[in-house]
């Protein structure tokens, strides 16, 4: 489908978006986005949370106005929600006080149909999506899967040209998500939907490869398109196919090499003090190292492979991999994660050994942790306010990243018993026994 030259349904040119921070200064979330969705295609937007992919979807849906740039829907500028564009929400966004039928009929309100016509079309959408018999139920009586079917019926009832899906399956359990995905793909492949193109946001790589004809990988800070990967496998696709796996692996490689590059680059500036860290629980770090050390992996695994049995998506996996990489318990290279010698010792140690090793690595490889400890050692009274380090970080990181970095260092520092942090007074201090 990707080969045939088709008309663009929606085009974004040089789209930028910045939100105002509480302090008033702009926080850029999207920068220079150029994309076009052509007729007959499912386009996937893949990225970690916080990379602006949901914002991008809302811009395409006319729900948010871009700060600059141009959005063309069928060649004409888009000003607000338009006829022919429908959204399926991650949280379903059903009105609890309306029945299934009323919720679906809401999707036709703007078309100003007669009451009978409204009813007829809603019933046929309910029928199509497999909700027959549930029309008089309230959302609270339905399971998650059934609720999202209502979400689909409400979006499809108006016969939209462009369907926008914001992580439509991520709030569902694995089994239900799979059923809904397959049902949707069946309708799509059989051309039973009037919809001409789909834009789907996801952080699940397998889901993207399973459904999309083209995948855009989004990078963060601010959000930008990092890579475009065409998926030309014929539908229906098989997850066990070598070709399928090759694409999944390729995406992991892109994501991880971007990650390690960023880590490497950040460690060069300002003595690595402004290294951005994600707060990952030390339980997860330890547990992941243990899993990696044990058979069948024996210390090294492709991220694409290890993600499946853990049912981790990239939001779970990448921060852990990054933490292990930064702490030099593991090395991440081209989609593969491999424990270092210290990482193996860490994985097999008992509680005390682990803590000791973790502390050693924290001081050596996380300059911010070493810096905090040094300040506390030098200061009279061995106390320092959090604000002091916040200011230092904010020279290099935006406020959100500075917060999450401090949160990570606090969690790790507490585990390593490197320092004490009192959130009530927002001060760091040393254990009295140590001073």
């Amino acid at each position: 489908m990707a080969q045939q030259k088709a008309a663009a349904i929606i085009e974004l040119h040089n789209v930028c978006k910045a939100f105002a921070k509480p302090s008033g200064e702009p926080l850029p979330v999207l920068k220079d986005i150029d994309l076009a969705i052509t007729e007959g295609e499912i386009l996937g937007l893949l990225g970690r949370s916080g990379c602006g992919k949901s914002t991008l979807l809302r811009i395409a849906g006319g729900l948010i106005k871009p700060t600059s740039g141009e959005v063309l829907y069928r060649g004409a500028p888009l000003a607000g929600p338009a006829e022919g564009i429908a959204v399926v929400f991650q949280t379903f966004a059903l009105y609890p006080w309306l029945t299934v039928l009323d919720n679906v009929e809401l999707g036709l309100d703007a078309l100003k149909l007669s009451q009978d016509e409204e009813r007829r079309r809603s019933m046929s959408a309910i029928d199509l999506i497999g909700l027959d018999g549930f029309q008089s139920a309230y959302p609270r009586e339905l399971s998650g899967g059934m609720r999202q079917r209502v979400g689909f019926a409400r979006a499809l009832v108006s016969d939209p040209t462009l369907l926008l899906m914001d992580e439509p399956f991520s709030a569902l359990d694995v089994l239900t998500a799979e059923t809904l995905r397959t049902d949707f793909l069946d309708l799509w492949i059989a051309r039973q939907l009037p919809t001409k193109a789909v834009l789907m946001v996801t952080h699940n790589i397998e889901e993207a490869v399973l459904m999309c004809d083209r995948i855009l990988v989004l990078g963060a800070n601010p959000g930008h398109i990092a890579a475009a990967i065409p998926v030309s496998l014929p539908q229906p696709r098989n997850r066990l196919d070598a070709a399928f796996h090759a694409i999944v692996d390729e995406i992991y490689t892109i994501l991880t090499s971007r990650m390690t590059e960023a880590i490497g680059a950040q460690s060069q500036i300002h003595g690595g003090l402004a290294q951005h860290l994600s707060p990952v629980s030390t339980n997860r770090i330890g547990g992941f190292a243990e899993t990696l050390a044990a058979p069948p992996y024996g210390g090294s695994a492709e991220l694409a492979k290890i993600a499946v049995p853990l049912s981790f998506d990239i939001n779970d996996l990448l921060p852990i991999a990054a933490a292990l990489h930064i702490l030099e318990f593991a090395e991440v290279k081209e989609g593969t994660i491999k424990l270092t010698a210290a990482g193996r010792v860490f994985a097999q140690g008992d509680i005390e050994q682990r803590k000791r090793l973790f502390r050693e690595h924290l001081v050596r490889f996380v300059p911010l942790a070493a810096h905090i400890r040094q300040v506390l050692d030098e200061r009279e009274g061995h106390e320092a306010p959090r604000a002091r380090f916040e200011f230092e970080l904010q020279d290099h990181l935006n406020q959100n990243d500075a917060d999450s970095t401090l949160q990570a260092v606090i969690g790790w520092g507490r585990y390593a018993e490197l320092f004490i942090y009192d959130d009530r007074t927002r001060t760091f201090s040393l254990d009295h026994g140590e001073t």
Binding site: P81, V87, Q90, T91, A93, G107, D109, R140
Partner: protein, 578 residues
């Protein structure tokens, strides 16, 4: 004033099907009100008016008066806390006590506080003859009654809804009842209790102002305070003095909020259970100041330690005593004696009531009170509808804009707390000046102070309206009519009902001071039940005051049971997703 503790805290509303106990409670409370009323004139006899200090209209005297008013508020708060901890705990722990205490509390919430002010004044004055302590206590009691019922309800509800896991954890470490109470139950109830304290405090200002200057029959009382200052200003027709009082009150309320309640709310945030995580953490500069100041820390430490020790003490009854208390007669026997006593007391009270009332009141009196009640009911209904038509759209418009909400919400809350009776003279001055019909133009005064509850609850509802539901409606391009009917109004409905309950309850109370007003020698009466009670109070006609209060209570209870509670339950059922 009925505040509906559970609604305001967003806590769990436990629908209790009304049964014979409620009826018994209504009869019991009303009968006691009537009995005290009919017997009250006998108590007036020993009253010798004490030497009362003259109220000065100089603005320089105002800070002192304001301080006195604030002190009354504080005293009432302490009394309410003591009452709450004993009454609610007893109700939550004892099944038998619960059957009486909770229905009684429910009815007490609906009795108009200003209605029985005259009895309480007489009662407290006769306790301390020739002493200003009597009227002081009566004023404090008026504020107490505006807070205690809600606070007790809040604590009772929290005690009954302790999460099972927390309860099991405390039992598994074999905590004593005392430890459990201070380390589990009170912390769990704290956020709700403090929120309720703050909300009832808003009503409290109204009552403290109204109760400082009161005249019952032949004697007049004016306690030094803002209320008396305004009463004097009305006598002297001094509009400037009224303005000064408004300024003083504004400052007092803002200080009270900043110095007492903001810190309390911010502090109590740590007790909030995780399940109900709010998006915004309440902050208070005063609390921050205290937490950061080393001097304050040093001062606090021993106190904190002592409290900590007290809460940790096991405080178990000695074994011998426990053996003694452990013996109890068979359950059936105790129940029989307990319920038997209840029925007997109720029957006796009803009989006494009929005997007393029969000798002093006639059916005509009931007819007059009833028709006045109908007039006031009509006024409350019309005003609530009008206030809703005005404030719901404005509240939604504000609530959907976060920046505007941040600005307007504190103002709306302040206006709700501000005692509207301080503003009455201004309105009355205008009515007299332009010679307007009192029957119509006095009515809006009833809702002057309480309409803000509708506004700020609607703002709160609209600002917490889920953003995905808003986006869905925008994306579906739902047209305005349907947007209001099917999207926004159902979404804010529970919040609106909460606000409307409070507003209507407050309007009933306010009718007693707003349906009959004066400006110097000019007297305006809008008639109605509030005017009836006020007139009878002035005349010192206790049986008819009691009758008026009883009629009003019945009307308020009926409105709550037949309209507001079903509406609230309906709203809650419909907006729940799980």
């Amino acid at each position: 004033m009925e505040h509906h503790a559970e609604v305001l805290t967003g806590g769990v509303w436990r629908p209790r099907v009304p049964d014979w106990r409620d009826l018994a409670a209504i009869v019991l409370v009303l009968a006691v009100v009537l009995l005290i009323g009919t017997g009250a004139h006998q108590m007036v006899a020993p009253f010798v008016p004490a030497h009362q200090p003259e109220i000065s209209l100089s603005p320089a005297a105002l800070p002192f008066y304001t301080l006195r008013t604030v002190m009354r508020m504080l005293a009432a708060l302490v009394a309410s806390l003591v009452f709450t901890f004993t009454y609610a705990t007893l109700a939550a722990k004892s099944r038998r006590a619960e059957t009486v205490l909770i229905p009684v509390l429910d009815v007490l919430q609906s009795v108009p506080i200003l209605g029985y002010l005259s009895f309480t004044v007489v009662f407290f004055v006769s306790l301390f003859p020739g002493n200003m302590l009597g009227p002081e206590l009566a004023a404090i009691f008026a504020v107490f009654t505006s807070q205690a019922w809600n606070m007790a309800f809040s604590l009772y509800q929290s005690l009954r809804t302790i999460p099972t896991d927390l309860d099991e954890a405390s039992r598994s470490v074999r905590a004593s009842a005392w430890q459990r109470f201070w380390r589990l139950e009170v912390p769990f109830a704290m956020p709700g209790l403090i929120w309720n304290m703050m909300m009832s405090m808003s009503g409290g200002w109204f009552f403290v102002v109204a109760s400082e200057a009161i005249s019952v029959g032949d004697f007049q009382i004016a306690l030094p305070g803002v209320g008396s200052y305004v009463a004097r200003a009305i006598q002297e027709r001094d509009l400037a003095a009224v303005g000064w009082a408004i300024v003083a009150m504004t400052v007092a309320i803002i200080l009270y909020d900043q110095l007492l309640f903001r810190p309390l709310v911010a502090w109590a945030d740590k007790f909030r259970s995780e399940q109900t995580a709010a998006q915004t953490v309440p902050r208070s500069w005063v609390l921050q100041l205290f937490r950061r100041s080393t001097l304050a820390q040093r001062f606090n430490e021993p106190i904190g330690l002592a409290l900590h020790r007290a809460a940790r003490a096991r405080l178990v009854l000695p074994d011998t005593l426990r053996q003694a208390t452990r013996w109890s007669p068979p359950r059936g026997v105790v129940d029989f004696v307990w319920y038997g006593t209840l029925v007997a007391v109720t029957a006796y009270v009803v009989w006494e009531l009929l005997r007393y009332a029969g000798s002093t009141l006639s059916w005509d009196d009931l007819g007059i009170a009833g028709s006045n009640g109908a007039l006031t009911l009509l006024r409350v209904a019309i005003l609530i509808v009008l206030a809703s038509l005005i404030w719901v759209p404005i509240g939604v418009a504000v609530g959907l804009r976060p920046k505007l909400t941040e600005m307007i919400q504190p103002i709306a809350q302040f206006l709700a707390a501000f005692p509207a009776n301080l503003l009455f003279p201004v309105a009355v001055f205008l009515i007299v000046r332009f010679d307007l019909a009192p029957k119509i133009w006095l009515s809006p005064l009833m809702i002057l102070g309480t309409q803000w509850y509708i506004l700020f609850n609607v703002i709160a509802g609209a600002s917490t309206f889920p953003s995905d539901l808003r986006e869905a409606a925008a994306s579906l391009r739902v047209r305005p009519w349907r947007w209001w009917r099917e999207v926004m109004l159902p979404g804010i409905f529970p919040y609106y009902v909460t606000g409307a309950i409070t507003a209507s309850g407050g309007a009933w109370n306010a009718s007693i001071v707003s349906e009959i007003v004066s400006w110097g020698p000019t007297k305006l009466s809008g008639s109605g039940l509030g005017a009836y009670i006020a007139q009878m109070t002035e005349a010192g006609d206790y049986p008819r005051i009691a009758l008026g209060v009883a009629v009003m209570s019945v009307l308020v209870i009926a409105a709550n049971r037949l309209l507001w509670r079903p509406l609230y339950r309906y709203a809650e059922r419909r907006t729940r997703l799980d």
